[in-house]
């Protein structure tokens, strides 16, 4: 246990000193492994095996497919129709454009498995509109940054896929579990917008009212999004295709839709392919580093000791969960989302399992905590994405705008923890 804790400390220190996360984890894992066995040859063998096997694991080929699908829909322009549809119903209300942004983000999350891509894509559509109506930049940016976090909760989700692989849980069940908490997230974000404009009506003036005929037309305009969502999730839930196959079909569907919409040039297609390949490589390097580290942590027996320690405390298991949430919130301030999950889940899930909790539910909880970390200073990645798209808005302004959304996220987290049925009802309905 002591060895593991020291290793965690060294690793976090290296990360702070700007060593790439994958290498910090891999190096500490390698040396720790060698230290425990007193055998460098065995540690080298472990690194070799992990690298080779992770790089050629068929089950992981689902990850690049969802990345590709997300990047294709990002440049397809479908985000515009989503926004128009949401706007036609909500735009005329106070704060209506920000609410439309949140709803459109939720819709986009249903075809995109990445929070960063969701935030980046929606910002291009929603920001100019909100600017036109004189929205307070902090409310505008805050709603996009927060709405974008839904990308990893509402299926498909790259993070849920990786959680499922780490904990050997059914990916389809995890996807089903993410839907209702995602919808709750949209509703609470709308409440956060409402609260902001209630306090300061000038922050979000209403837009124009859309007549019902136009609304119907706008709603029909999102057929592409709906089709992709039903195609991918339908294939997974009916068991017609495996999640990996569905992901590839989803990417292909996104490609066909982009071609039909003529939004794709050769140049942009090559860019999308290359960006997806580069992101894939980047994620796998982190994955390999984290697995090397996890192999070492397993050798230390930290997970078992943590479990027996928690059980020996004889307190209500829910307090252990609260403690874990606290750890996540603190780590989330400084760690990037994927690394946080890869580092913590292998240690925590045996504990959560040992306490008798459902690992599907825990997965949703972990993802929601990760969503929160995406908008928590100082390292809120979604905020940085927005900054890179709109350099004229200051980081401080965005973080200020995010605060009400952050607050309702904490409420949502509490609801998810206290009402497991919210996450587990749909998976139980589908899979008994």
């Amino acid at each position: 246990m002591i060895t593991a804790l020291i290793a965690f400390g060294i690793m976090l220190a290296l990360i702070f000193l700007r060593v790439p996360i994958a290498f910090a984890m891999g190096l500490v894992g390698f040396f720790g492994f060698a230290y425990i066995l007193d055998n460098f040859g065995a540690a080298l063998g472990m690194v070799r095996a992990v690298t080779y096997e992770t790089g050629s694991d068929y089950n992981l080929s689902i990850v690049p497919m969802f990345i590709l699908m997300g990047n294709l829909v990002s440049q397809s322009g479908m985000s515009r129709e989503l926004y128009r549809a949401a706007y036609s119903f909500l735009g005329h209300r106070s704060g209506g454009l920000a609410m439309s942004t949140v709803v459109a983000c939720g819709g986009f999350s249903a075809i995109c498995g990445s929070s960063l891509a969701t935030a980046a894509t929606m910002s291009k559509v929603a920001m100019p509109e909100m600017k036109k109506y004189g929205y307070d930049p902090s409310l505008a940016a805050g709603s996009i940054a927060a709405g974008g976090t839904l990308g990893i909760l509402i299926p498909p989700s790259v993070i849920l896929v990786i959680y499922g692989i780490l904990t050997e849980q059914n990916i389809a069940a995890l996807f089903a579990a993410g839907i209702l908490p995602g919808v709750l997230g949209v509703l609470l974000y709308m409440a956060a917008v409402r609260f902001t404009t209630w306090r300061n009506p000038a922050a979000g003036p209403p837009g124009e009212k859309t007549p019902w005929g136009e609304r119907g037309k706008a709603l029909l305009g999102v057929w592409g999004v709906l089709l992709l969502f039903v195609l991918v999730l339908g294939a997974i839930y009916t068991g017609y295709a495996t999640p990996t196959e569905s992901a590839a079909v989803g990417a292909f569907g996104a490609l066909v839709l982009s071609l039909l919409r003529r939004s794709l040039t050769w140049r942009s297609f090559l860019d999308v392919l290359y960006e997806s390949a580069a992101t894939t490589a980047m994620l796998f390097v982190i994955l390999i580093g984290a697995l090397i580290f996890a192999n070492f942590i397993n050798m230390t027996g930290m997970a078992q000791q943590l479990t027996s320690f928690a059980l020996s405390l004889e307190m209500a298991p829910i307090f252990v969960i609260f403690f874990l949430v606290l750890v996540y919130l603190v780590l989330g301030c400084v760690l990037e989302s994927l690394s946080m999950i890869l580092l913590t889940v292998p240690v925590f899930y045996p504990l959560v399992d040992g306490l008798g909790y459902d690992l599907i539910w825990f997965g949703i909880m972990v993802v929601v905590v990760t969503e929160i970390s995406l908008i928590t200073p100082p390292v809120g990645l979604n905020v940085f994405v927005l900054r890179s798209v709109m350099p004229e808005i200051g980081t401080g302004t965005i973080f200020r705008g995010v605060t009400p959304f952050w607050a309702v996220d904490i409420i949502r987290l509490a609801i998810i923890i206290l009402v497991p049925g919210l996450s587990l009802w749909l998976p139980q309905l589908f899979y008994g």
């Binding site: 700007r18 790439p20 690049p64 295709a241 079909v249 390949a277 490589a281």
Partner: protein, 174 residues
Amino acid sequence: MNPNRWSRPALLSGRLLQYIASILLFCMMALTVVDTFMRKVFSAPIASAFELTEIMLTLVIFAGLPLITARRGHVQVELIEGLLSRVVRRASDLVIDLVVSVALAVLAWQLWLKAGEQAGYGDTTSVLQIALSPVTYVMAALAAVAALLSLANAILALLGGSAEQAAQMGSGGT
């Protein structure tokens, strides 16, 4: 040392790797889609889809590795970046590039050993009987290229820049 002499071939081979990674990713998608379609509609799946996907996944990742490394694109936490003076920053870049370079070199060496093992046993994939060792040799070679690029980054950190920038600046003039 004249970076201009090397920039053109470096840029071209970088672009080649980009295309290879992109095409492989596209092929992965296409193969899975066709395989799924054939299985569902004609009950005639492509038996080799599984192993081909595995090989392509490996190659996408390892083709991407030198590209990411060259642009110092591995995910980092830039929490203290703003606090560092330029000299300290450059010095830390230098050390980090060297650490990354050594780690990648060790990885390349281990994969090379793995490839040798596979060649010795004559390991092949189960359906198409594709020899596995060449794939692993390519992995090792690409990891070695990435290690060299990180070393180049370390040297360039002394001058202030990255290998990718140097390649682009150099070719801009020619």
